[in-house]
Symmetry: C2
Subunit: 383 residues, 2 copies
Amino acid sequence: MRNFSFKNPTKLIFGKGSIAQLSKEISKDTRIMITFGGGSVKLNGVYNQVINALSKHTLIEFWGIEPNPTYETLMKAVAIARSHSIDFLLAVGGGSVIDGTKFIAAAIPYSNDPWDFVLDDSKIEKTIPLAAVLTLPATGSEMNGGAVISKESTKEKYAFHHPTVYPKFSILDPETCYSLPDYQIIAGISDTFVHIIEQYLTEAGQSMVMDRFAEGLLLTLIELAPRLMKNHQGYDDMANFMLTATMGLNGFIGMGVKQDWATHMIGHEITALSRLTHGYSLAIVLPALMQVMRKEKKSKLLQYAERVWNITDTNPDTKINTAITKTNEFFRSLGIKTTLSENHIGDEVIHEIVKRFKQRKTILGENKSVTPEKVLDILNLCK
Amino acid sequence: MRNFSFKNPTKLIFGKGSIAQLSKEISKDTRIMITFGGGSVKLNGVYNQVINALSKHTLIEFWGIEPNPTYETLMKAVAIARSHSIDFLLAVGGGSVIDGTKFIAAAIPYSNDPWDFVLDDSKIEKTIPLAAVLTLPATGSEMNGGAVISKESTKEKYAFHHPTVYPKFSILDPETCYSLPDYQIIAGISDTFVHIIEQYLTEAGQSMVMDRFAEGLLLTLIELAPRLMKNHQGYDDMANFMLTATMGLNGFIGMGVKQDWATHMIGHEITALSRLTHGYSLAIVLPALMQVMRKEKKSKLLQYAERVWNITDTNPDTKINTAITKTNEFFRSLGIKTTLSENHIGDEVIHEIVKRFKQRKTILGENKSVTPEKVLDILNLCK
């Protein structure tokens, strides 16, 4: 096991009716900016629950943080927050709203152009405290210190991480997810699945505990997915899905193990260039990456085949083939089109991605072996 | 899933050579009291590593926190800490040293008799900050807000919990455990096993995620135990054991689920009355409790049989019987004598325990159904 340091200070407040606890969790003498996405929270009652809970607090609202939140939109929120001397941010929405709010929180006290710290997060010095009311299980942003921000003007998308941007608390009420459209449930399942895989599917024998935790989350997701696809209003299923998504990217399965993240890095570029939803882009890349990297990942692919898919075949190559097929079938069972062509994404996107990685000298993967040439192999397999 | 709130602020610093990080983690301007047990840390090099790391800090040492730490011993430390204006406590040792240090930390600023807050932890107001260097995987105290304290004069033993007694950080270096005697490794494995079971073996269908996490820890422990019994100096095995013990009682497997803790409550009384080591007393009680409570726990005992012991028998009663036998055999494979008589504990202890529970009107278990009469049934089965 590798040496590691783990700390996750976020308080998780979970369950039916828990939005009402907001008033206890935020001090009355703060000036709050509440950040929102496109407005679905006004239709499903979440907005009213939040506003009622904070009826005695001083607050302003900022609307319009988009999926794949952009620097351009977020900088408007930064200007408003500065002019109102905001000292607490409450994100109400999914991962994009929370990610965007982390950027705003770090940008408010930042003296230079905040895009600087997206490119180099060591430049973050302090952060306005933030918290979240999560309405879409997917990114894990509600209980971690990371955020992904896009720049519209240059079609770039990068992640930054900092210990000061963990939410102080996050409220997760599964009932807030009942009204989610299929499309977002699907993206959330796919995103969660790949978050777990990125931390798990490297090399066997890193950590028995982390392996069991990750496999447990994958098994849970595979069991839940068909039920969630049929019905979004089963409380326990939605609760288990929310918890799986949070546990999938809050550090609980990442202690002392190698991590990959190549699928995410390639997926981010696909999204940046084609606007394909994040969770959908990952489902295209992952099976192809497993295929191209199968030698290096052999020991873990075999364990994955056995423990996650219960494949008992004795031939290792067959076992791995079946595991990759099962993975692809899992995404397709959600209704995701797992090829680039089905999503009308052509060779020009492939070539642009490879060109960018070459220019940036980007080499990906847990062993820094996924060169731009390997990325080309992977993307060609995605056609 | 039940509503829950989870927060664990402890920073876990894990791995080879990590004691050297002490100097970075504790501010130079604090006055530290380091608390120790019986002196094994002087033989295995841990003491020197700690003192070297803190060579530029102001510190005093307190030695002699015993297994099942007593109020009487700890109050001596409180008096010394007060007279030296100590403002940081560093526990170096196993769960008893850490538990005792949590008591000291809460007792220093407490104005009345600190035994009060052992009996009613809501009386704790503030706490001196504390941290730990763990040298014995077992209790999980290094990453939770609980402590178990004994009172020698009355032969009582109680647990208290408070959010202010979580260690600020805990350092876990598996190499510090290489010199542990078999006896303590065995007690640690047993204690860890039962911590997980107390949070898991209640009723099926509470939380898919928590079930998978708990089962994963049990499977890890069952796989590790025979290897640890043969060899205490395998780095990865010891690292996995340490991590399992920490994860077993840091809240990670307890979110939104019913919890039992009857085995612990009965075991504490056995230890208080007979001085039998904590981990050993639990191994006596657990199989008998499973037997007596088998109807109420049926759904979860069946899941435990299938997922943890891989028992495929189709008859539910046979399945449960086999799971209980396997549990008992697991403890016996560690060399634990799993009956009271083998440990020279007679009927007078049984009767005293039942008398105490009757006097205190104690009713145990996840459904508050383990009456003193049921405890008598359980203890009679332990003979």
